[in-house]
Symmetry: none
Subunit: 209 residues, 4 copies
């Protein structure tokens, strides 16, 4: 179920969803390129021709997975933006969503991390991703405006630092190079927040390189 990432599952299991979920599993197992359309159809239990009733191409399948997932993330980030929390709490919220996705739906994360995030298929980072970055940037900028974060760093750059940190940890889990027990996942969240928000704290300002 795609939407488990942010837990917005609708429960409806039509053929389209069947195919999409099968695609996630197959892509996770063999990688996008090594996955044949027939594999996905077989996994979904339908004829491979049917796939083309719902999706224009194999590529669109991947892009759809991508887009739908990020739409959820985007919604979640927006919801966080609308809370009354501190910037630090907001970033912690985002970290929690992304890192806990690994527990919720490892296959999906596997696909997103391995195939999409830096994919050259989806030539330009899909719009949704950019908007998630923009959300992060706004959270950070607001933190600066509110005097919570030091104002002398570019919030856009910091959003890259923050997102990159999260993604690298997910990658470590995907590739099995980082332990991913419940404790480690919690520790990961805390470390990222401690380090990044610690580094953004006001009294750190103007430290000479």
């Amino acid at each position: 179920m795609l939407s488990t990432l942010t837990d917005r599952s609708t429960g409806q299991e039509d053929k389209r969803r069947l195919i999409l979920d099968a695609a996630v599993r197959v892509f996770a197992r063999k990688g996008y390129h090594a996955s044949r359309v027939g594999d996905i159809a077989e996994e979904a239990g339908v004829a491979h021709g049917l796939l083309y009733h719902y999706f224009r191409s194999k590529d669109e399948l991947l892009e759809t997975i991508f887009r739908e997932t990020w739409r959820d993330v985007l919604d979640a980030v927006r919801a966080i933006e609308e809370t009354d929390e501190s910037a630090r709490e907001r970033l912690a919220g985002v970290a929690k969503i992304l890192l806990r996705a690994w527990r919720r739906d490892p296959d999906l994360v596997r696909v997103l991390v391995r195939e999409v995030t830096r994919s050259s298929h989806v030539q330009r980072r899909v719009e949704e991703i950019d908007q998630a970055f923009a959300g992060l940037e706004r959270i950070i900028a607001r933190g600066q405006e509110d005097g919570e974060f030091r104002p002398d760093v570019d919030p856009r750059m910091v959003s890259y630092v923050f997102y990159g940190a999260l993604e690298e940890i997910l990658t470590g889990w995907v590739l099995g190079q980082l332990e991913d027990g419940d404790e480690q996942i919690a520790a990961a969240e805390q470390t990222v927040i401690e380090v990044v928000c610690g580094g953004l704290a006001l009294d750190r300002e103007a430290a000479p390189l």
Copy 2:
């Protein structure tokens, strides 16, 4: 020239190197999958059959690019480890090497950033990459032992945060979503160091999530 990444160019231009360099250019231009073996041979000015004299397959070509590049990075990280600098200065050194690679050899960075997924898929993150991570981890752990960094975070996890931040910024440049003027490159270095090392500073210790 592969070795420009860390400036260890030997000047020798044998056929093997010729092919490797051509591959970097072609992969950078069209992406690994869209690059035909014939394109690479043509770019190198040799018959495509010769390619198989030096490399087992198109895939081994990519793997070699990864391996050789990371071997250079690894050497550079080791050299940094052997200096008398502070942990912060050492991390700054690593950041400088990785981020300035974008200026030195954008094609190479383009390939490395865009095809990481393939390298890690095909051959689970080359050993050299792991060792570079281990170097980062040692630098951080030493910083903790020396009382420069707070001791309550897992150095391994922090190495992921640090490396992820750098990689994401490179990705931003590769995808054209982040400005990459000389100023911005310098700013990127400073921001990463400020934020991460700031967050690792001693007085940040034990801040509640």
Copy 3:
């Protein structure tokens, strides 16, 4: 039509059969190795991709030709085994089937004779061939038990002598080194039977080498 060898043609002409028949013609014309998959597809009037819908490889095509042909031969040999004829008459029946195949379907015989080596190389002589040999052996052994043939020779060895004689004659025809008019074909049958069955006659027993 493959089955013309023993005249069991069903008349159904599905694509699979179309391809198989085309393969026989093309292999007969150019030899297995010199035949390109595209040639066969063209001869069959289908796209070459379709070939892989029905057969795993070019090799499986040849193997199938062998297997199906020998299955027919096997059936015919079994039918002969079930008659009330003398051993000599039974062997004559087998000789007739194999030698007259040259008239019925020269292309098929051409392929079988010229590519035996490949069939036996790739897949150690199809099971069907072995069973046909076993049938011959049983016919001969029965002839010995019934007192028709001398009992002091190994029936297995004799089946090789008998089959080898037939195959060599077919080879002579295929290579154009032996005349193959109707008369000669009849003479070949008679000669093989005369010589082999003559040599197996009871009063020949125990002749010193």
Copy 4:
């Protein structure tokens, strides 16, 4: 050593012979088509380029093996023709040479049986083979003239029967479907002679089919 077939080894081991012998071993092991020129060169311990000093092509290598072997066989058959033996003894001599070759040089027989005998490379049966057949035919015809063999069968056809029987037995040994202990080899010789010469005996004449 090629010439072991009829034991005419000269003892000289020049590079040409080295390559030829290596080729026999490699062809025997992997089959002609699967054998690469490089394999043969490696087996011979020379650079593969050298092969082209002695032979025009890979094909000529096979043809040479073929031709040289059959020249030996041909000489042996001629020697037999010049003896004072009976036709039966002469045929026994030929059978002995061919069947015992399996013991002397199994690799060579393997190659001859699997790659050449019905090969489509050597489109036309090499002249030497034809001459060996002709020798057999003369022996048989002489047997008929001398009143040793029945005159009512075509000697040419009988030479095919005789040779085919021998070749099929060799094939059985090559493919491992026939036991090839010393006893069995002797039995094979005896069986072939008993059956074929028995069938050619005078009193068998005119038996109705």
